[in-house]
Symmetry: C2
Amino acid sequence: MRGAQGDLLRLVATGHAESRAELARLSGLAASSVSLRVEELIGTGLLVEEGSGTSRGGRRPRRLRVSPTAGLLAVADLGAHHARLGLLDLSGTPLVVEERPCDIALGPEETLDWMAASFDELLLAHGPPGVPLRGVGTGIPGPVDPASGRVVSPSRMPGWNNFPVAEHLGARYDLPVLVENDANLMAVGEARAWPGCDNLMVLKAGSGIGCGVIVDGRLHRGRGAAGDISHVRVRTDSSVVCSCGHSDCLEAYASGAALMSALTEQGIAVGRPADVVAAVNDGVPEATALVRSAGRLIGEVLTVLVNFLNPDAIVIGGSLSTAEPLISSIRAAVYERCLPLATRDLEIAVTRAGPDATLLGAGSLLLDAVLG
Amino acid sequence: MRGAQGDLLRLVATGHAESRAELARLSGLAASSVSLRVEELIGTGLLVEEGSGTSRGGRRPRRLRVSPTAGLLAVADLGAHHARLGLLDLSGTPLVVEERPCDIALGPEETLDWMAASFDELLLAHGPPGVPLRGVGTGIPGPVDPASGRVVSPSRMPGWNNFPVAEHLGARYDLPVLVENDANLMAVGEARAWPGCDNLMVLKAGSGIGCGVIVDGRLHRGRGAAGDISHVRVRTDSSVVCSCGHSDCLEAYASGAALMSALTEQGIAVGRPADVVAAVNDGVPEATALVRSAGRLIGEVLTVLVNFLNPDAIVIGGSLSTAEPLISSIRAAVYERCLPLATRDLEIAVTRAGPDATLLGAGSLLLDAVLG
DNA sequence: CCGTCTTCCTTCGAAATCGAAGATAAACCG
DNA sequence: CGGTTTATCTTCGATTTCGAAGGAAGACGG
C-alpha cells in the first residue's frame, strides 16, 4: 500500500475525506487521478462505497469508507493497575474495548505476554472471521524512545527500564508494531476530535501527570521526551522532595497519586484516582480543596506553556478530568495570568474523545505504519 | 515559479542542495526529471552551473548556484533605536548590510518611509544594474499577526498598534512582502546555521526578551503569538509590576531594559544593552552580579520549556548574548533542574548566524514567498 | 598505467498524472 | 415544476514523471 494509493486510503481512514471530491482537494491530486485510484482500491476490497453524503449545494458525494473486512488493529493502553484493550477496524473505529486489571510491576515479559493473550481472546470472541490483523500498538505509562521502541527511565515501572518493547512484540507479530507514551497517544486520539485545531496540549491527569503535544497537526516528540510537565518546580509554601530527586515538582503536589496520599493522611480512604473524584462529587470538603489547589498549580505551569506555544486548545483527560473543580481552577489560573493575545481564542475543555482516546490515538499512528 | 521548479530552486537557494544528484535525493523526484527541470531553470537564467563540487567517491557533481542576476531581496531588522538593513541575493547571501540609527517611536508611516528610502539608497549604491528587486521583508520588535501583517498590541512601539505594515509596504512595492516578529526571524535565520537540529529555541536577549521557536524545521507561530517568554512569572524575593499589568514578569528582572535601569539606579551609566555587556567585560561587579541573576531567572523559565519541548538546542542571540556570565548562568540553571532525558543531547550555545540572523531569516522566509 | 568501482548525469520508452470538457445528480428558486 | 446553479464524478488526449539502462568522469588500488 504505497504512494498515492496509501495516501488516499489514509485520508479516508483518518476521517479527513469521505468522497472522491474531498480526496482530490486534500491530496492535491487531480480529480481524475483520484477516481482512478479509488476504483482500484474498491477493486482490491480496501474501500467500499456506502450511500451518499450530505450535499454542499450541488450533487451529493458518494460516500467512501474503509472496508470493515480490510483488516484489524489490536491496541492497548497499559496503566499501572488496569489496561484498556481494543480491536479497531482500519478506519480506527473500535469494534470492542475492554478494561481489565493487570499489574505492570510484574515486569515487561509477563505483562506483554498477558497483553498478547488478551488480544488473542478478543480476536477469537469479536474478530470477524477472515479479517486479518494488520497491526499492534500499545501505550506505555512512561517515556518511550520512538526510534527503538524501548522504555527509557520510567519512574513507576519497575523492571521495564530500557526494555525493547517494540522488538519483543515484533518477534511475536510479523506486523507493524507501535509503542508510544500513553499521553502522546492520547493527544493523537484527541486531535482527531478537534478538527481545525492544529496546535493542542493534551493533559492526562491520572495517577501521574502526562502531557502530549500536537504541533501543526502532528505529534511533537522532540528528541523523544517532549511533553513532560510533571517535574516543573511550582511555587508553594511547603517543600516536598519528588521521586526525581528535585524538590517541589508539580507531580508531588498535583498528581492523582499525590492527592491520594494527602487524602489518606487526612483519614479519607482512597484507593485510586477515581475515588478522589468520587469524594469531590460527594462533597467531601478536604477533597475539593485539594483538587482545587492541584488545578491551580497545574494551571500556573500551563500558563508558561500557553504563552510559549500559543495553542488552539488545552484538552484535559485522564481519570481526574471528571472532577469539575480541577477544570475550573485550571481555567482560572490560565486565563488570569496568560497574555490576552494567547488566551483570546484559547479553549480549555475536557476530553472529547473520552476514555478511549489513547486507543484511538494508537490506531491513528498505526494506520500510518500500516498504510505507509 | 511554481511547483516542481520552485521546489528545486528553493532547495538550491536555501543551500540544501548543490548538485542535480542532491536535488534528486532531497526533492524525491527522479534524477531524470531533475535534470530536465534544472536545464529549464538554467535556460531562464535563474540557475547557473559553476565549476564542480567535491567528489563523494565517484564523479564530481556539477555545482549549481542561484544566479546572482536572478534578483535581490531587501530586508530590515527594526529595533527601538537602530535598524539593520541589507540586500540579499536569491540564495539569501548578503550583498551589503548596514546599521543605521532610527526611531520607531516616530510612528509607522514615518519609519516605514524611512526604511523604503534607505532601501532605495542601498539599491542605488550596491545593487548590480539590471537585477530586479524580488521581495521586501522586515522584522518588527513586537507581535505581528502573520495573516494580516499587522502589528498587534506591541508594548514598546507607540502608534503602531494594529497598523497594517504589510499592506502599507505592499502599496509601495508590487512584490511579495514579509512582516514578522524579529525573534521569529532570528530563529529562522539561526535554523539554517544548525543543520540536523529540527527543534530549536532561539532567545533574543536585548532590550526585551524575545524567543522564536523552530519545530520540525519550521517556524512555529501558534495563533500568531507563540514564543513569548517575557511575561512568565518568576520566583524572586522582591515584587515588581510589569508593563503588562502582572507582577514579577521575567522581563521586569532579566531584560536589557531592566538591567539598564537597575545599573543606572546604582549610579552606573548605561545607555543601551551593549553598555551592560561592556560593564560586565570591564569587570564591574554590580553588572556581573545583575547579569548572573538575570541568566539564572531566564534559565529557570527555560527549564519548563525544555522539559516540554525537548529541543535539540537553545540558541542565544541579541546584544546581551556576548555577556559570558549570562550564558553560563542560563546553562547552569537549565542543566541543574531539567530532566536528564531532556538535557542529554541538549546544546546551549550563542548564535552561530551572528548579528545578521534576523536579516537572514527574513531572506529565508521571503524566498518561500518569492519562489512559492 | 589500466581495470574496477562509485557517483553523477542523460537518454528514452513506459507509466502515472493532469486538466479541460462533458455527463450526472441534486439543491435552489421563482 | 422547469430552468439555473453548484458540486460530483468520468472520459480522454496531452503532459509530466518515472525508472532502467547506459554513458561520463573521476577515485581507488594494484
